[in-house]
Symmetry: C2
Subunit: 256 residues, 2 copies
DNA sequence: ATCATGCTCCATAGATCTATAGAATAGTCG
DNA sequence: CGACTATTCTATAGATCTATGGAGCATGAT
């Protein structure tokens, strides 16, 4: 009964359209960036170190596979991930790489994720301690990514400015830093820097995509940053907008 | 502060090793098969319509990316998926394809998934109704896949034998059929066939991999099949071995 | 030992992909 | 409208991937 073998082959060929996107390291990097926030072609080329035309070419490949969508704003074209499934797919790929490829683990270790990551803070712990006002939640990603979506009540302090703006942080509170996800090095580096300065700091186990996929609230916009907003408001936001601290068990959403 | 850009590039290059596996339709097909059960190279070549050497070559690529592992039994080599994360990754890819690629949906519809799939049975409904003895759970995948793992209490009746062995099914009970997953056509075809014979039949929303990933129990071995085992035992097994109908969120560790 | 079986390794022609320069297009601002 | 800017399209050389036949290697049987 092979009447549909042709159709079945078509099916896998369609899947391969998606696979085609993630054969190239730079395309994975682009996709990863786009899971954090939308960006212009120029910004993407800059961030990945690609020539503009090359970046555009890669983006076309991704667009043909429907993994990204575009929005035009004046003279600029902004690309974004074409939905939550895209981020989930990239996340699954990262999980797979971390668990199966020893090399990945090794690279992460060699960059200090290990040292800083030995004791990551769980979601639940973060929620509990933030509610109690015991910690400052720090988003160390670039500012654009923060404003595209962040943990409610988190403060934006991009890693590149952390050293210079260290005095904005209350030395008595422990810092919980987060970034793009398990493969991102921003938070671990931030934690290493903070510890080097004698602060108490740990990484969150999630990046923003994981937090979002867990069904937890995400806040958009510039937020309450500026250094003058007090800690109380910060923690208040995290508590106030939190619907439930337990996993909502949406049929998917790898709880980790 | 680009001191780690080289390392970061390395990281994405590692991810691309995984991407490399899923560029080729046949490799995706192979991976999909291996998420159901281990198989020999010969069996895989046969199932995918590849020449033996070509299949072996593809399997080597997959092995280098650590997505599959092997076991030697006498003169034969059996390949298997290298862990649950692999299946999750393939699953995420399938979800992505279904939601983003209209073509996939179209292919599925053109093959009758639509007709048979308009009303899929949810996990919870299945558990409830099976417990009440109202339905027969049918595994319509090939027998090897059934014995490598199936829903407790399900009966094996491969699609290819369904028509011939139709009389083994009690005409008064509704059938709930399942197969490999949302992209698999076995269950929808089985349901179409059953309905054509005047039976009541629906597809389960899950395939075995989804069921397993949800943390629900999976039974191995030939099971209680044979046509002589009564319905009561079948349903009893599903109930008895079910620890909890809710997602237990065990983060890992389903030994196969 | 010798042979058969089941797979992997090797070599290679043909197909496909990547980076990039330069041209073309779309939208903006005087 | 015409100059200008941000992107996309086009063409192409160089690099990489795929399918496949046949040799080479273990394992098991005679």
């Amino acid at each position: 009964m092979e009447h549909d073998s042709g159709r079945r082959a078509d099916l896998y060929e369609q899947l391969a359209r998606i696979g085609k996107v993630v054969v190239h390291p730079k395309r994975i990097e682009l996709l990863d960036l786009l899971c954090q926030a939308e960006r212009s072609v120029e910004a993407l080329a800059e961030a990945t170190g690609l020539k503009l035309t090359t970046a555009s070419a890669h983006l076309q490949v991704m667009r043909q596979a429907r993994l990204v969508e575009t929005r035009r704003d004046g003279t600029r074209v902004f690309y974004r991930a074409a939905g939550e499934e895209v981020c989930r797919f990239v996340g699954a790929m990262g999980d797979l790489a971390r668990t199966r490829l020893a090399e990945v683990d090794q690279i992460l270790r060699s960059l200090g994720t290990d040292a800083a990551g030995t004791e990551r803070v769980s979601r639940d712990e973060l929620l509990a301690r933030a509610r109690a006002g015991e910690v400052v939640v720090l988003d160390v990603r670039p500012a654009e990514e923060y404003s595209a979506g962040h943990i409610p009540g988190a403060r934006s302090l991009p890693l590149e400015h952390l050293e210079a703006r260290l005095d904005e942080l209350d030395p008595d509170l422990e810092v919980v830093a987060y970034c793009r996800g398990p493969l991102c090095l921003l938070a671990p580096e931030a934690v290493a820097l903070l510890r080097g300065r004698g602060r108490r700091a740990r990484c969150l186990e999630d990046g923003l995509p994981e937090w979002r996929q867990a069904g937890l609230p995400v806040e958009e916009g510039i937020g309450t940053d500026g250094g003058s907003s007090d800690g109380a408001e910060t923690h208040g936001a995290l508590v106030a907008t939190t619907p439930s601290p337990t996993n909502p068990s949406t049929h998917e959403g790898t709880p980790r």
